[in-house]
Symmetry: C2
Subunit: 315 residues, 2 copies
DNA sequence: CTGTTCTGTTCGGTGAAACCGTACAATCGG
DNA sequence: CCGATTGTACGGTTTCACCGAACAGAACAG
């Protein structure tokens, strides 16, 4: 393989014409230049220089290699510039893992804003539930995740950086005209005879729903278990069930009523990135876009923690 | 500037995925690969690798550099291949310096043949008289010259290689119907009252014409001195003069009569190249084309030397 | 839970290379 | 002929690439 330093010397020789000038330009001694060019000749097994009088001339082979070498060096410089641009400008691919209820209310608006402000930044949205997003972030499937630190099963190591985003209220979702809808807040105990819709088994919201119901003294009767919150809302909309959902998941276009619980429950919503990833301008731009959510029904910053504290404070 | 060896390791890492595999493929130790990649990171001032578990993953920056690096390495390999092709295949530019009388009878037919047999070989014909062609060859203006070793003013050093091509008879050129044309060979002494056309002052043929005339006991009366042999032949054709010319210069389409001298005079015609240039296939192809002259009025190999012997035998 | 075996990295040491300064040969100019 | 300038050859020094061993973390089998 060719050596870029030697190619540079040859390329300089073509433009400057003399070994001494090359040496001065490259801040080397003339002997070094001569030696390196000789090495290049043995490496390529081609005569590149022709000694003519007291100066040196490029052979056709030398001329060819000098010109191609310059192209190669230019390409190297270009690659280096692109490399630095990648860190300094918000461009390139960023994969954002978001749990389902935050997709349309948080991630999509952020992505829309980013598409106009940073057209060269390619954002890839991935639906990742809290129990999946941690490993995905570590393995590199995602560069940024929006998740909850209340999730009990996962520890956030020192390699990850937590950026608190706010808290998401857990609300009771009722069909319009439901008897419980007349009150501003509802006690869960009043729902013990209701039919429930909830997320799929083992999912975060399914576990939470069951736990809260049990804490209120009853076992919920479940009518459906849908991973898709839109289907779940339709089920409630149709008067077939009620549900506990994060407020983020309920968009205005659904004909349902949401009511807070009499003992309010929130879950922490946090951005997590791999430590060191924040040096990328693109990552920072996405994080900033996520934190800036004007159209969002304000995420109250006060929150009642459901799980244990994160093992690492968000520095 | 980037280092090609390190780029190769990064590029290999992208395809192989693991440092160990890269080390094996590159016939290096794993520690070396790790170190070199670390050097690449400090050189670029970018994080290229991300340690994830017990293996390593490329960052977006690393991925970019790996791909661009592969392009660069491919280009290097391509350049190297072109370089060797330049020596092994008859391609590229070859500049051929030829004295005037050999242009249309020797050089142009050879160039025509070469154009069909070696389309990628670009031959550039340069009119160079014997006194010019030596320096031009040495300075690199020409890669091959066709000249005469009989020329007295020049020494052929050890840096040049002589390839004898044949000998060119010096003939007397007469207008059709000229009284001297009745004989098969003419003695120069019989021409002492003629009007002469010859080459420009100081040129090879002008000097030769004067010398031969003086040896025959008279000073030629010169009517014109043209550097262009075609004009010179027209002058003779018109009956205004006679001339001494190399047989090569007289093509059949001219309405003139050529007669040999009673004491025949030849001049040596030789190909000269810079020693070492013969390693180029293109140069060899041109030399071969020049030596192969089917349509040429045979250059007799016997010759009567006009000047001193070349200082170097054509080995 | 524990040892085993992968992973990549760190460390001290070694040989090769890149490099310098000097000396030298050749060339060009005056 | 002499001085200026060219490229090169030769010794010595510094830097770099490399290795092998030791190490630390992670996956995995028992």
């Amino acid at each position: 393989m060719l050596h870029s330093g030697r190619l540079r010397l040859l390329s300089l020789l073509e433009t400057l014409g003399t070994v001494r000038a090359v040496a001065e330009t490259a801040h080397l001694s003339a002997s070094t230049v001569s030696q390196q060019l000789a090495v290049l000749e043995t490496e390529t097994r081609c005569r590149l220089l022709e000694r003519t009088g007291r100066r040196v001339r490029l052979t056709p082979a030398g001329l060819l290699l000098a010109r191609r070498g310059r192209e190669i060096l230019d390409q190297m410089a270009e690659a280096e510039a692109e490399l630095h641009a990648l860190n300094d400008e918000p461009i390139g691919l960023v994969r954002l893992g978001v749990f389902q209820s935050a997709i349309y209310t948080l991630a999509v608006p952020a992505a829309t804003r980013l598409a106009t402000t940073h057209p060269r930044l390619h954002l890839e949205l991935i639906e990742l539930e809290p129990h999946e997003s941690g490993p995905a972030l570590r393995s590199g499937e995602a560069d940024i995740i929006v998740t909850t630190t209340d999730y009990t099963g996962l520890s956030w190591g020192a390699d990850l950086e937590l950026i608190p985003l706010g808290s998401d209220q857990i609300v009771l979702v009722l069909p319009p005209g439901h008897p419980l809808a007349c009150r501003t807040t509802v006690s869960l105990a009043a729902c013990k005879d209701e039919i429930w819709a909830c997320d799929r088994p083992q999912s975060y919201m399914a576990e939470l729903t069951v736990r809260l119901c049990r804490e209120s003294g009853f076992e919920p009767r479940v009518a459906c278990r849908f991973g898709n919150y839109l289907m779940l809302l339709r089920h409630v909309e149709a008067g077939r069930s009620i549900a506990l959902l994060p407020a983020l998941a309920v968009t205005p276009e659904h004909a349902v009523v949401t009511r807070g619980l009499s003992t309010p429950v929130h879950r922490n919503v946090t951005i997590v990135v791999r430590r060191g990833t924040t040096q990328r301008a693109a990552v920072n731009a996405v994080v900033a876009a996520l934190r800036d959510h004007p159209e969002l029904p304000a995420l109250s910053t006060s929150h009642h923690r459901l799980g244990r504290e994160p093992t690492e404070p968000p520095r």
